[in-house]
């Protein structure tokens, strides 16, 4: 059967079981939008292409499926760039489809032309410019396969307008064979045995878990491993939810704003079992002082993550689920009673805490109340900065895919559109965007998208009238010279703004109103915008100054 390229695209997306896509129309994608008019695929129209990319990303993180976004050529495509880079840094499976000018105009500086494959080359796992309609179906098949397998990531497909208008015989390929791409899933048994031996012999081990465990769906295997060995677990920002933080063996997050006990434990350990984590600088702090007495076992599906920043004794390249399952079969518990006692002592001595004795609202308190009101079962999206760190510290994540935050790239403006994607992917879940008054204004236009689609996303702005994290650094390291970080004037009345979109808005200024407002928001079957006026100069503690060893923390109140 002969179909146009546009029709081949929508048919192929259906074959890939795409249920929803996020996109924005434009000149050269008109044929695609015409085909979408008849397609059963749900289409969400955000108010900015950047939000389309973040929403596709949030959808992917919440569901584990590939997120799909679509934009026109030139500015449409370049507006996706931040979203694609965000997904790339956090290994999120995404297919981004962009329109392109006609093939014979490429390179002529045509209207709305941008070399988007060139621009996105370093921020995609792979990208394609399709020059012949006959290659289209196979390209889509490959793109989805590459996006979701191995270490996942975004793949971009650039489609010139003449290619989507031409016809070709349509047959969706059944099989795929990319000779140059064959990710390793099976962990090498010999390496696993070496790891088991090291673990058994260790005196002070710690398990350090990253987002890879969530991507691999290996939380069950991880829990079994922990039950068998009794080793404490710390997670990266991306790993939150991989292991229940309510478990006594959980140490919460480590690193720059990690718990003191997690940082002390990893620094003093003699063996680090790293699973799906990449020893990012926010985790290791000063690298040459990091965990000086520790040997490292590193399980990761991406060989280039292994021995990149730290020297690894036992590398295990493969799927975290497979590696842990193999390890669980042979593992013998180490003798670590004394060490675990030491960690428990650190937990008692340096608890995660803040002073909650004022009448003003503490941002940490808001997060705690959201945690209690949602019983820890909500999907929490965040923006970037203090809001993100407080959410990471004070919401106790129990399950994978309930924490959605831009870790690697640190993208302000990410959380709100990501929450839209998460809510669409998980309609039965409560979805919060914990935001700052700075970040929320970076994609505030998406109030329209939640209103139009009646998405019950709850936005909780921790409004401190400033760009809190940068202000905190200025306070601590730049002699309180608050250069362009105060939002005293110019901040809109968020309640009125929400109402202008037909969304319920509340401003909360008193501590005793915090819980009430959250409970009320949860009762409303629709979007709610909560504007919490919080203490302006509250800081995120503990904090490891950039370039310091991670046990050299600035403590808040402990």
């Amino acid at each position: 059967m002969k179909l146009t390229g546009a029709k081949i695209l929508t048919e192929s997306l259906a074959r890939e079981k795409v249920e929803v896509m996020f996109g924005y129309p434009g000149g050269v994608v008109l044929p695609i939008f015409d085909a979408l008019y008849d397609s059963p695929i749900r289409f969400i129209l955000p108010r900015h292409e950047q939000a389309a990319a973040h929403a596709a990303d949030g959808y992917a993180r919440a569901t584990g499926k590939v997120g799909v976004c679509l934009a026109t050529s030139g500015p449409g495509a370049t507006n996706l760039v931040t979203g694609i880079a965000t997904a790339y840094m956090d290994s999120v499976p995404m297919v981004a489809i962009t329109g392109q000018v006609k093939t014979n105009l490429i390179g002529s500086d045509a209207f709305q032309e941008a070399d988007i494959t060139g621009i996105t080359r370093p921020i995609t796992k792979h990208n394609y410019l399709v020059k012949n309609v006959k290659d289209l179906a196979m390209t889509i098949k490959e793109a989805f396969y590459i996006a979701r397998t191995g270490r996942p990531g975004p793949v971009l497909i650039d489609l010139p307008v003449d290619v989507v208008m031409q016809e070709a015989e349509f047959e969706y390929p059944e099989n795929i064979n990319i000779r140059t791409y064959n990710p390793t899933y099976q962990a090498h048994l010999g390496q696993v045995k070496k790891a088991a031996k090291l673990i058994k012999a260790s005196k002070k081990p710690i398990v350090y878990v990253g987002g890879g465990v969530i991507i691999a769906g290996a939380s069950g295997e991880l829990s079994e491993f922990i039950r068998k060995t009794n080793i404490h677990v710390t997670t990266t920002l991306m790993g939150l939810g991989a292991f229940p933080q309510t478990d006594p063996l959980s140490l919460g997050m480590l690193g720059m704003h990690g718990t003191a006990y997690a940082n002390h434990a990893i620094m003093e350990s003699d063996l680090i079992i790293a699973i799906g984590a990449r020893f990012d600088d926010r985790v290791t702090g000063r690298l040459d002082h990091f965990a000086p007495g520790a040997k490292i076992i590193h399980i990761d599906i991406d060989p280039s993550s292994v021995s990149k920043n730290v020297k690894v004794e036992v590398p295990i390249v493969g799927d975290a689920k497979d590696a842990l399952a193999k390890l669980n079969k042979i593992i013998q518990p180490p003798d670590i009673e004394h060490w675990n006692g030491q960690i428990d002592a650190w937990k008692k001595k340096y608890p995660l805490a803040y002073k909650n004795d004022t009448q003003t609202i503490k941002p940490q308190y808001v997060v705690e109340q959201i945690y209690e009101a949602t019983k820890g079962d909500a999907i929490i999206c965040t923006e970037v900065g203090q809001n993100q760190m407080w959410a990471a510290q004070y919401y106790k994540f129990k399950k994978p895919r309930t924490w959605i935050s831009s870790g690697g790239l640190g993208t302000m403006g990410y959380g709100f559109p990501a929450a839209i994607g998460a809510q669409i992917g998980c309609p039965e879940k409560t979805v919060f965007d914990i935001a700052g008054d700075g970040s929320i204004q970076m994609n505030i236009q998406e109030l329209a998208t939640v209103a139009v689609n009646k998405l019950p996303v709850k936005v909780a702005v921790l409004n401190n009238s400033c760009l809190g994290m940068v202000r905190q650094w200025q306070e601590l390291f730049y002699k309180k010279r608050y250069s362009h970080t105060r939002f005293k004037s110019g901040c809109p009345d968020f309640v009125k703004m929400a109402q202008a979109y037909g969304i319920a808005g509340m401003m909360i200024t008193k501590k005793e109103e915090v819980r009430k407002s959250i409970d009320e928001a949860l009762k409303i079957d629709g979007p709610v915008f909560l504007n919490f006026i919080v203490e302006e100069e509250e800081n995120v503690f503990p904090m490891v100054p950039a370039g310091e060893a991670i046990n050299r923390m600035i403590e808040g109140m402990a």
Partner: protein
């Protein structure tokens, strides 16, 4: 230390840009680069010479190259028996009084004059890095006007 890496890639547009982009984005230096089609026209071979003392950087370069979808294989010749060659074009002063000296130098190497006009000649030389270094040193004493090098290509015997 210079390392010769041979990379087999899909012969498609944009692949060179991917590789060049990877090197620049991660701050690795390319000393030389030679690209051409192989026996199989769907495959190109890129011989990349990188200069690094750090073994971990060399490892990272290889791993990052392997990660690119269009790359078929990455071979590091550092610890492998191989032969490498480079072609150099050398423009020299070919005045009457220098002729005999140049001829005697060229006789010692795989090098010959391929063009001359007036008092200028172009020498073509092929050799490994040592040979080319010595040739250039010898000719350098007589005065070299310009050189162009292709970059190394390398091949393993097995």
């Amino acid at each position: 230390m210079r390392h010769v890496i041979s990379v087999l890639v899909e012969n498609k547009f944009g692949v060179l840009a991917r590789i060049a982009g990877l090197f620049s984005a991660r701050g690795y230096n390319i000393s030389s680069l030679a690209v051409s089609e192989t026996l199989d026209p769907s495959v190109s071979c890129m011989t990349i010479v990188v200069d690094t003392k750090d073994e971990t950087i060399l490892e990272q370069i290889k791993k990052q190259l392997n990660k690119l979808i269009d790359i078929i294989t990455v071979m590091d010749f550092t610890k492998k028996e191989h032969t490498d060659r480079e072609l150099v074009l050398i423009k020299v002063n070919y005045a009457q009084k220098e002729k005999a000296k140049i001829e005697s130098i060229l006789n010692k190497y795989v090098a010959k004059i391929i063009k001359h006009k007036g008092e200028t000649a172009i020498i073509e030389a092929v050799g490994d890095q040592e040979q080319i270094k010595h040739l250039l040193e010898a000719l350098g004493k007589l005065g070299i006007k310009e050189i162009i090098r292709t970059g190394r290509i390398a091949m393993a015997i097995e």
